[in-house]
Symmetry: C2
Subunit: 274 residues, 2 copies
Amino acid sequence: MELVEKHRSHNGSQEVYKHFSNTTNCIMQFAVYLPDNSKDCPLLYFLSGITCTEQNFIQKSGFQQFASKNQIAVVVPDTSPRGEGVPDNEDFKLGFGAGFYLNATKEPWSKNYRMYDYITKELPELISDNFQFSNSKIGIFGHSMGGGGAIQFALKNDLYKSVSAFSPICSLYKSTFSKDMFSNYLDNNSDDLDLYDPITLIKNSDKKFESIKIDVGLNDDFLKDLYIDDFIKVCNETGQKLILSKHPGYDHGYYFINSFIEDHINYHANILKM
Amino acid sequence: MELVEKHRSHNGSQEVYKHFSNTTNCIMQFAVYLPDNSKDCPLLYFLSGITCTEQNFIQKSGFQQFASKNQIAVVVPDTSPRGEGVPDNEDFKLGFGAGFYLNATKEPWSKNYRMYDYITKELPELISDNFQFSNSKIGIFGHSMGGGGAIQFALKNDLYKSVSAFSPICSLYKSTFSKDMFSNYLDNNSDDLDLYDPITLIKNSDKKFESIKIDVGLNDDFLKDLYIDDFIKVCNETGQKLILSKHPGYDHGYYFINSFIEDHINYHANILKM
């Protein structure tokens, strides 16, 4: 694990590391924010959206201010494998920046596009081995593709005690964002897609969170492609409580995230510090 | 004046416009943040550093949160003329991104590199014609090249009632950042450089501010090249009060600015709202 960047930020340290991943078979970068005195502090994972790297959230969301106030560490992985030899595609919805937080089953993607195992297994081990954050007070949140990813991970892994999302892609079946991914990474196999589709997982899972917090902008150009109302419906049917806020005027981007990041960090802090 | 971008942000609107400038003889962009109900609200100009456009500050500083709380509008111009036909240079300290907020006197720069007139004359008129902010409650601040620029503008123009800077370049005579600019834009003419050099201006000006707020990081790679201690000395000699904070561990970049932007916005708000 090699330090790439380190900046003092809000009485803490914003750091970026790179390491060779045996899961994705390439060099991966991730960011970590450490408030001062971070021993045993709660830890949040943030999963970014399509086209992002670990840089977008750490530069634009302004989360450090609130992570510092709440004494919470935040880890931000990249959104996909990258680099020479890793398959890519000109379409932004496929390849670099569009890992979709799943394990691809079809060649040539299956060698590297294994973000599900990377995020749930290799990265937590790396964090645990190299930092002294709490191993139990862990939450997860994300944006768009990563918002759906956060819900997916939280429903299937007891590691995460709290979950929230900005403008999540809720239906991998219906969204045009995931159409090419489905045919390329998963060979159009529905059984495989069911493993990652937030709506299917809510429907089939016995696991319930006390709440899932979701914020979405009503001026989001992609709003119809997120299928949030379908998600609300299945949550209502299965008794999964949502704390949902729809914000008039706000769009899909980081100006929206920056405007409501304080609420999300506080939401996780309240659950994780109990 | 044409709208380029518009995003809802912290109960306000982050907008970017472009227009043809008769001062710099090219198309210029600037950003403006309007809190809701911005009629007659105070206005702050932020001047960015070398290599920046209007985008860096609006994406990374997180100022909108505090401008919104204080009901202050913020205008962020680009740092130089740009585009086809405008002279540029491979060196980042010259040409695009390095306008140095002065009027160049030497060909080929003098046709476009007229940022002093653009910021003090054309841009305020454009803002006044198109928005309804206060015409008297106006402050200015900036970073690095723009920090020096803010001090320079404030000392010479009664338009600005408050001034502050992050890590300002205080000596255009000594800093290696301004060496190439001096020979290219100003033909090494000291009389011209005196018009823009913060230390010379403090020395020669009768005008005093009740205070000038300056923040600088002590882990700033460029610290020695800012000549802040020379600036402090001349301020002490001439009775210009400084509110100076040196921050251990912080560097020159936007993680530093983001960490202390709240203090700067509050500082201006307190003066401008009196």
